[in-house]
């Protein structure tokens, strides 16, 4: 996925000379995950900027760069450090168009690696999507495959409004597929049906998508049931149409996310299903989520992050209901 993101940034910078890249260690070091490796050499110091350690200024300056006519791609080194920019994202970036009644707008993409699974220290493994999904004016995108990373990031950069692009850390090196050559655009607000449902469906995003697929395999082996998997890809705007469609076919639903359960974005998905597809449900909707704790430290993270076993248990409970 790292290469897909890097190539997409390069393609957008080549396509549109208004696109600039800024963040901590994105230039000479090529980013701590090497996502931006080589971009400084290719596009130069007038378009790729190593910033001071100032998340609020990275996002806040992106607001100003937008007004000046540029198209910023801002990197927050780890999503857990986006809290230092939260007031700029929620209070400023997401609402300048609204506040200025359309006079100004912010075509800003804020990229941030997020989530656990690779034994990072405190504050490096937060799953941050919920508060940002609760930020009117901000689009929230989470790819789970390299192809989608390319297609969604292309859309994000070209979007006239701000997009938070959350990159699942454990998928950086492990997610692999055949990324389409050349122009590849995935429209924001479209979920992907990874596996067609018949008996139940798991709705997930980011690093939980492969976990959902593993659970679906296990259910097929154990029970011969066909469990669908939906990758939301975009949390805001939410693809209600696809969600309703799979729920109507499956009747049984499990929603999975890595962020803590309480107030998690899964609650929004569940509430939407209840409003839009209640009479298709054959069992109570189950949620499998992170525990209501700060992001777990390395020695316990495998026990605290949702895994296939927990999703299987939730699916079995749903299938038995």
């Amino acid at each position: 996925m790292v290469a897909a993101i890097r190539d997409t940034i390069a393609a957008e910078m080549a396509r549109d000379d208004r696109v600039v890249l800024l963040g901590e260690d994105v230039g000479h070091n090529g980013g701590v995950f090497r996502v931006t490796d080589g971009l400084l050499d290719r596009f130069g110091e007038a378009r790729v900027f190593d910033t001071p350690i100032s998340e609020a200024a990275i996002v806040g300056a992106s607001v100003g760069l937008s007004v000046a006519g540029l198209v910023p791609i801002a990197e927050i080194q780890f999503a857990g450090f986006s809290w230092q920019a939260y007031h700029q994202v929620n209070g400023q970036l997401a609402r300048l168009r609204y506040r200025s009644r359309g006079r100004f707008h912010c075509p800003v993409t804020v990229r941030a690696p997020y989530g656990g699974g690779v034994r990072t220290p405190e504050h490096h493994a937060d799953s941050v999507e919920s508060p940002y999904a609760h930020t009117p004016g901000l689009k929230v995108v989470v790819p789970s495959t390299p192809s989608d990373a390319k297609g969604l990031l292309t859309s994000a950069v070209r979007d006239p409004d701000p997009v938070l692009f959350l990159e699942p850390i454990p998928l950086y090196r492990h997610a692999r597929d055949d990324v389409p050559e050349g122009e590849h655009v995935v429209e924001l607000g479209r979920a992907r049906v990874v596996r067609e449902p018949a008996d139940a469906v798991v709705i997930a995003w980011g690093a939980m998508v492969p976990v959902a697929c593993d659970a679906a395999d296990e259910i097929a082996t154990r029970h011969g049931a066909q469990v669908g998997v939906v990758d939301l890809r975009t949390l805001v705007p939410l693809d209600v149409e696809t969600i309703v469609s799979v729920v109507e076919r499956a009747g049984r639903v499990v929603v999975v996310h890595e962020a803590p359960l309480t107030g998690g974005f899964g609650a929004e998905v569940v509430a939407t299903i209840q409003e839009e597809a209640f009479y298709s449900l054959e069992a109570p909707i189950r949620r499998v989520a992170g525990y209501d704790l700060p992001a777990p430290v390395p020695l316990v993270e495998d026990w605290c992050r949702p895994d296939a076993a927990r999703v299987v248990a939730a699916l079995e409970s749903s299938l038995d209901a």
Binding site: E24, H28, V32, I53, F81
Partner: protein, 359 residues
């Protein structure tokens, strides 16, 4: 803490109250231990037994000199994440906790009772307002002591640094801010971090007096930190101390500094190694010799192995991750904890990179 004790790891009293020879030996021991601990934890990380390590290599004098200038019975330490290995004066149990922290153990942030120090701060700059508040609280409650916080050159670009320092200045709180200027914030050199000529200039903006010192000269650091502490403790308000040193090792095990650090610059700073310099100075003054040095190195090795063994003797109970979120757990949290406890009895427990969570 009123007596000098010779046992390794025993806290020393206030630095200016002890005989010079004992203090010199303590400074050397602390620096040697920090150096060796950086190396040992680096190797343990490579073996998959430690999750992360930010080495202190080459910057030992800056931390050791400050810590030994404080009155550890009444002064609070508010560190970020690199200095802990240089805080051997806080005792072996503290260092054991530091090793647990980098192991990724849920109890790693539990600073031992009686040690006046907050857990490592990962979120850059966040610790400065905490230290301001701590110092403010000491002042409001009429308690002695100061708060001493550490921050890297890069983190001074965070808003929290400016906000915390500014508030400290306004309230004239007993706060010492130590800027560990090691030249690099991962790949960003100080010249790209700020256009300010020095980091003391940032204190000027807050109306806070500041001094710059050679952070590789442990005696210079000690003297400057003692003077700064005296100023701060006297009720005159906060001070900032900029210690100029160099990050001769990587930012952490995840970093590859060969991508960006100029070789000549690195070589020049390696030639100014703080331990080598201090050893040469003491030897030149007739206060130290090779035999004494060798004996201390051996003692430090043994002490460190005891600390590491103790840190790895702590089992990891995944259910303990549920402890301490709040004073009490709500019903939903307790249900989640019970679910995990049930899984632990029904699922096989894997080893964590070769480290069982069971002892």
């Amino acid at each position: 803490m009123t007596e000098v004790r010779d046992a390794p790891g025993a806290p020393l009293p206030r630095a200016d109250a002890v005989p010079t020879a004992a203090l010199h030996r303590a400074l050397m021991e602390d620096m040697l231990l920090a150096r060796r601990a950086s190396e040992r934890l680096w190797n343990l990380q490579r073996q998959g037994r430690i999750a992360t390590i930010p080495p202190l290599t080459g910057q030992e004098a800056a931390i050791v000199g400050v810590v030994r200038a404080l009155d550890l019975a009444i002064d609070w330490l508010v560190p970020y994440y690199r200095e802990q290995l240089g805080m051997a004066a806080l005792g072996d149990e503290f260092l054991e906790q530091v090793v647990m922290y980098w192991r990724g153990h849920p109890d790693g942030g539990r600073v031992p009772d009686g040690v006046l120090c907050l857990p490592p701060q990962i979120s850059l700059g966040s610790q400065v307002p905490h230290a301001t508040g701590l110092a403010w609280g000491l002042k409001l409650r009429g308690e002695p002591g100061i708060a001493c916080t550490f921050i890297g050159d890069g983190a001074t670009s965070e808003g929290d640094f400016a906000e915390g320092l500014n508030l400290a200045g306004v309230q004239r709180v007993p706060l010492l801010v130590v800027v560990l200027n090691n030249g690099w914030a991962i790949s960003t050199p100080t010249t790209r971090q700020t256009a300010a000529p020095t980091f003391t200039a940032k204190a000027d903006a807050a109306g806070v007096p500041a001094t710059r010192v050679d952070g590789n000269d442990v005696l210079a650091v000690l003297e400057a930190a003692r003077a700064a502490r005296a100023h701060v403790a006297s009720g005159k308000g906060p001070m900032l101390l900029e210690l100029i040193t160099y990050r001769v090792a990587a930012h952490t095990n995840s970093d590859d500094p060969t991508r960006y650090i100029p070789e000549e610059e690195l070589a020049a700073w390696k030639a100014r190694d703080p331990i080598d310099q201090f050893r040469a100075r003491l030897t030149g003054d007739g206060q130290w010799d090779d035999a004494e040095h060798g004996a201390l190195v051996a003692a430090v090795e043994a002490r460190l192995e005891r600390i590491i063994d103790a840190a790895f003797a702590h089992a990891v109970d995944p259910v303990s991750a549920f402890d301490h979120r709040n004073a009490d757990g709500d019903a939903r949290l307790l249900r989640q904890r019970d679910e995990l406890a049930a899984r632990l009895t029904s699922e096989p427990v894997p080893e964590e990179n070769g480290v069982s969570w069971r002892p």
